[in-house]
Symmetry: C2
Subunit: 488 residues, 2 copies
């Protein structure tokens, strides 16, 4: 057999090419540089840095940016982690201020899962899935079945599962909105399947444009792509859009017509600032009611998560997806696939339960819960509006008003000299701008090219999670100086 | 465009064929049936069932089977979940009995992660990775670098990541021990890569047989398989074996000679009942010391987990892998791949930290920690020996003495009439036996065919986690009756 040579068995050239192709800008080079700055500042070694703090506006990580966890959730979780505390209920109540409903909920969840240190069923604890089904019923006014609810590792775990099952060959295509959260394109790269981009309509509040979707579909099919599903992110990431009932129904009608599975990424369903959230499930059931029989075989997967909204527990990696209209044999393969990784984190499952079944009016913890929830919502809205106002006043910047999710995605028009300077550095112009912003302000955003954007347009995505508005001023000042430096 | 027909977009025929091919018996039909029995008994509806409890000996799920979590871990976790408790340190200490080191550890971990509800770096919190590196250094007597430590979603998440990166084409092959934990074969199926089986030597305590590995490798290469890595599970799952230092070095020498990445699944490193655990990392560093230069490019990935051992916190989905000797550009792709799923559960990361850095002699929590740890270890050993003794006395059953992990994997010789009866039911003989066992006793084990076994041999895997030994008696009685029913 062969002798060893001096290089490794696993060189860059020989690893999985589909992973090399995948791009995930949200945690890319810019984010890595921002972490270096943060570490430098933590060591007290400011050096030449012209800022004192790093503001991670690149990623929806609420609690990293000082969003406080909801007390009810965490009190319950503390008991789940240490059930021996239940032997001292009086201490919990009298000395630590835990309310009776906290203790009761912990007992219920422990009955469901036995121990948060034990594996659950692959798709999650039955009691928790029941609770999710009840939530969906209440939200939509239509029944839901716990057997069709799959708890997951955040919504990302659900997306990974669904795309794995759907993508059967290199010609499989998935309609993905552009701009999009790069989880979709990255996972499709890994799976060696095709992303079929459809552009959202920036001039109409980043809405879906049915003609655009139809033409993207037609083009892809004419090129031999077997388009199997359409992804919709509502409220939008990175766009911050919020879809109307009519838009939702149009997408469903198209999916029915064209035999597409609908993947509805609805993780921002509580982050809605304009209008009201309507789920794809409700849209589908309404259509089914209006025209009995017609939509019976339409397949919809609806995803949700504890990571976003007022809950913001992304570190706990909890989420779920509901499968509607799926073939039972396909659902069995979904189940087998998730079994291989055993089960989602059980404490995250318990957080899902609390998210879908929070304290109700009259419950001892309700008042504090509502106060915390409303205050987080109000803070998000205020910061969104402050950012929006700042963007409107910035030279060459245009921005849609904040409608949903936790992002703004302004258009930036950069001077020709800036674009040339970017080229010299071998960077895309929006990346160049974002690196300059990070180096000047410590504020880390993500370039629009990381999400996709129409040819010739430039954007960046920022969260509006970071506390205060001082950092908005940093961006405004940077932008002025940048424009002064490069103005044609 | 086409009109809708009456079937779904996603039929069984058109989904990902590689997922359909994957097999994962640990959570297969037998496990599903056992869960049905459990649910039935919970409802108080015993019906015709000839048993009162279901014993899930099919899966290493310690806390489902009443293994108590370690108090220190859970006290710290309760504070991590509710940091407001730190405002009442006196209550924690005086009324709840939390020791000072519990409070200190919680503060340290909160400094590392900020909030367990926040995303960490994709490969885990730097402070926790440092702690893992220190543990590895202390365990092996050789340095470890936190930058090469990747926290993961249990060890399963790590295996999934590594196989994704290594498998670059359908011809890629991975040497996998048979019998094996089916995570490996299932993941290789999903990735459409080749499992290159090498049989463990049952007659030598399920050890590795170098000639067997070499011949499997040679055969695979001659058939056009590009064999890139070898998996070793030590201590063994499902075999319960524990490898000698010599065996470990032989595998490493072969890997060096043949340019194979070594994947060392070492999740049972504290479950060793005969001899002493030696890590592949230590084996490699010893070889490198003995012959400087020769092994510099050998790539080793060593995986560990909080799910097993005396910790048994599988529901928290924590683990890590260390990459040794990997090309930096390859490591960067590993990082990007895990970024797409954001980060492992943060409370699970904290559990990893406590596992690798438990209370030390002199610490206030040490005594209780040691007492709990030793008692779990002793319980495992006692039950392992009781099972082993029972198996030795059963007709047609042979079993290796329990050396490591949490499983026994006895050989069963079934009468010809039993094999015929199995055939009639369309089942493999060992599956038939295991279904019969479940139906008669409520004890759920996994048939050897779910792990792979030499042609013509039959086995089953049972954990020795279930409390007490009453259920061992159920197996013995069932086996007698089974043999009486089918004896030739």
């Amino acid at each position: 057999m062969s002798n060893a040579s001096s290089v490794q068995a696993l060189t860059y050239d020989c690893i999985n090419p589909h992973i090399k192709e995948a791009k995930y800008a949200v945690r890319g080079e810019l984010a890595v540089r921002s972490e270096k700055y943060r570490a430098q500042l933590l060591k007290g070694d400011k050096g030449d840095l012209p800022f004192d703090t790093v503001v991670s506006a690149n990623i929806g990580n609420p609690q990293q940016l000082d969003q406080k966890p909801i007390t009810f959730f965490r009190q319950v979780a503390s008991i789940l982690e240490n059930p021996l505390l239940l032997e001292k209920e009086d201490v919990l109540k009298d000395a630590l201020g835990y309310k009776q409903d906290v203790i009761d909920r912990a007992k219920t969840l422990l009955k469901y899962v036995k121990s948060v240190g034990a594996y659950s069923q692959s798709h999650g604890s039955p009691g928790i899935r029941e609770s999710v089904a009840k939530f969906i019923e209440k939200r939509d006014g239509y029944p839901a079945d716990a057997e069709h609810v799959y708890l997951s590792n955040g919504a990302s775990g659900g997306v990974n599962t669904l795309l794995h099952v759907i993508c059967s060959k290199p010609e499989t295509g998935i309609l993905v909105p552009i701009p999009q959260y790069p989880l979709y394109t990255a996972t499709l790269s890994v799976l060696n399947a095709r992303c079929v981009p459809y552009y959202l309509d920036e001039s109409h509040a980043w809405g879906t444009d049915m003609e655009e979707i139809e033409s993207a579909l037609k083009k892809a099919r004419s090129e031999g792509t077997d388009v199997k599903a359409i992804v919709v992110i509502n409220p939008g990431n990175p766009t911050g859009a919020s879809l109307s009932e009519e838009s939702i129904k149009s997408v469903l009608e198209l999916a029915q017509e064209e035999k597409l599975v609908v993947m509805a990424d609805e993780v921002y369903q509580t982050n809605v600032f304009e209008g009201k959230f309507i789920s794809f499930k409700k849209g589908l059931r309404d259509l089914q009611k209006a025209e009995p029989g017609k939509y019976d075989n339409l397949e919809l997967a609806s995803l949700h998560s504890i990571s976003k909204g007022m809950v913001g527990e992304c570190g706990h990696r909890g989420g779920y997806f509901e499968l509607i209209g799926f073939d039972e044999k396909v659902a069995a393969e979904v189940y087998k696939f998730i079994s291989i990784q055993l089960c989602p984190p059980v404490i995250g499952q318990c957080m899902v339960e609390m998210m879908v079944n929070p304290p109700q009016e009259g419950d001892p913890s309700y008042e504090l819960y509502k106060q915390e929830y409303d205050s987080i919502f109000k803070g998000l809205l205020e910061r969104a509006q402050a950012l929006y106002k700042a963007f409107k006043e910035m030279e060459g910047v245009e921005c849609q008003s904040p409608a949903g999710s936790m992002y703004l995605f302004p258009t930036i028009r950069l001077p020709k000299r800036a674009i040339e300077a970017a080229e010299k550095e071998g960077r895309k112009p929006d990346e160049f701008y974002c690196f300059r912003m990070l180096d000047a302000t410590g504020v880390c955003v993500v370039a629009g090219s990381g999400f996709g954007q129409k040819e010739g347009t430039l954007h960046f995505r920022t969260t509006f999670l970071a506390p205060g508005t001082e950092w908005v001023g940093r961006i405004t000042k940077f932008h002025e100086e940048f424009m002064d430096e490069f103005r044609d």
